[in-house]
């Protein structure tokens, strides 16, 4: 790191920051694009189909359909970039970025490995170092910003169906954010801190002290709300082919559409990282007291990938909800449940547990 810093004429801290940002965000973007393939192949396997397996590099190397990513990318890149005549041009351009940037930014707070000391300097494996004061409030704040991408995309298209999708997405987001926040507050109380490193430290290395065991109700609420927050099935109300043509992205095509799709998958990655951090011990390795740095990173990545897969798995298992059912679930089930969870843990803490 020092060598790199001297090479770039910056301080080691800055160099480390830049390296972290590049590695984390490119990894998340790569994973998000790979996950489009995982989604398609996984859904195919769940439904006894085969899925995209024919795209090949140079017409020969098939690598189980992974070349589909490249093919899709090239296709999107060379498609005509249409802007509807009646659309609000500036916002129409802005919307994919508004969707994509918050989806990536949320990942910044997540510690993806244990901190290590090298040459008397502590290096933290998260883009935002612990003790920055924002803690787990940061992903909540950024998650709240994420809906603007959908909303602006919907409104600027100047299309009735798009606006319906955007409105549904915004209403969903507002209703489910409350459930998420209350579930997370219960974790803050149990962890006695709201920094992700505190949360991970409080969970320890034994799986039965992880918050998923200590707060199963909170986990259920958080997990369900995350589906609504990321606009994934069974709660994907920003889209809906049978109801509102395609939803908020009806008018989008080419790179702007692929950016919107990537935003969805980056959001999925951030959500699964949050689940892994809050309820499954983050980078903690089960039964290993002080794991090496590489082991902790591997553990975190494994958990992240597992939950990202669960998102895919649930999508292809459960039927969609109706919109009023979604609102009913959000306000009349999730909110009381997270309240009950909060009150229960507050009571337990007051009893000295």
């Amino acid at each position: 790191m020092d060598k790199l810093a001297s090479l770039l004429h910056t301080s080691p801290a800055t160099a480390w920051m830049v390296v972290k940002v590049i590695i984390v965000f490119s990894a998340v973007m790569l994973l998000a694009s790979v996950w489009t393939w995982v989604e398609r192949r996984g859904s195919a396997m769940i439904q006894d189909r085969i899925g995209p397996n024919r795209a090949a590099l140079f017409g020969k190397i098939r690598i189980i359909g992974l070349a589909q990513l490249l093919a899709d990318g090239i296709k999107f890149f060379f498609k005509e970039d249409l802007v509807p005549a009646e659309a609000n041009k500036g916002l129409f351009w802005l919307a994919p970025f508004l969707a994509f940037v918050p989806a990536l930014m949320g990942f910044a707070i997540i510690p993806f490995g244990r901190s290590f000391v090298s040459g008397g300097v502590t290096y933290h494996l998260s883009v935002l170092d612990p003790g920055n004061g924002m803690g787990m409030l940061y992903p909540l704040a950024i998650g709240g910003m994420a809906v603007y991408g959908v909303l602006v995309a919907a409104w600027s298209s100047n299309n009735k169906w798009s606006i319906l999708g955007g409105m549904r997405a915004s209403a969903t987001m507002v209703s489910y954010e409350i459930g998420i926040s209350l579930a997370v507050i219960a974790i803050f109380m149990s962890a006695n801190g709201y920094d992700p490193s505190d949360v991970i430290k409080a969970q320890g290395h034994t799986p039965w002290t992880w918050f998923v065991v200590r707060q199963p109700l909170g986990f259920l609420v958080f997990f369900t709300c995350m589906f609504a927050e990321t606009n994934r099935l069974p709660f994907d109300f920003a889209e809906g082919e049978s109801e509102i043509v395609a939803g908020f992205n009806t008018e989008y095509g080419s790179m702007k559409f692929s950016l919107l799709a990537l935003a969805e998958y980056s959001h999925l990655m951030t959500a699964s990282a949050l689940i892994a951090t809050l309820y499954f011990g983050g980078w903690q390795v089960p039964f290993v007291k002080d794991p090496t740095v590489m082991l902790s990173v591997a553990s975190f990545v494994l958990k992240l990938l597992f939950f990202a897969w669960v998102f895919v798995w649930v999508r292809w298992t459960l039927p969609r909800f109706r919109y009023d059912q979604l609102m009913h679930l959000g306000w009349k089930v999730m909110l009381p449940l997270s309240m009950a969870n909060l009150v229960f843990h507050a009571w337990r803490m007051s009893q000295g547990h």
Partner: protein, 187 residues
Amino acid sequence: MGVIVKKVELTWLDRTYVWPVLQGMAITFGHFIRNLFTTTPNRYTVQYPEMKREIPDGYRGLHELKRFEGGEIKCVACFMCQEACPARCISIEAEEFSDLNITQGFQEKRPAKFSIDMLRCICCGMCEEACPKDAIWLRKDYELAAYDRLSMQYGKWDLMNTYSDADGKAHINQDPTPSVPRRTIAL
């Protein structure tokens, strides 16, 4: 007549939604695992260009004009198939042929040209039904595509040779008995 719909009574476990969701996910995961460890040829999907479905008997694909052992065409150019064809894709020109060496009984008429426009053919099998001599069959070849229209006009020799390879017969492109050119009849 009304149908009595049985209302399913949900137990409290079902009402939580969590348990049924887990059951459903177990089912899909079972499918996923089963497919993950099944090689592609053993799955339900037929990977078409590499794998082909077994065509059932009675399938109506590309036509074949049958021939006798010696290579003589069975068709007697009676125009029954041409009349029967609802798509009007068959066109026949008949000719008489020299019966100096009688090998097939007393036959003196055969098609000089027999062409099927496969762009118009609907593979209905009416020609097969109409044929009094069992000379035209519809068999199992279904990959009928070409880059130009002309290649879709199947002539007499194309139709006689369509299944030669499959049946292990020799390709022929000439009638074993010479025709009588003077008395060619064209319809």
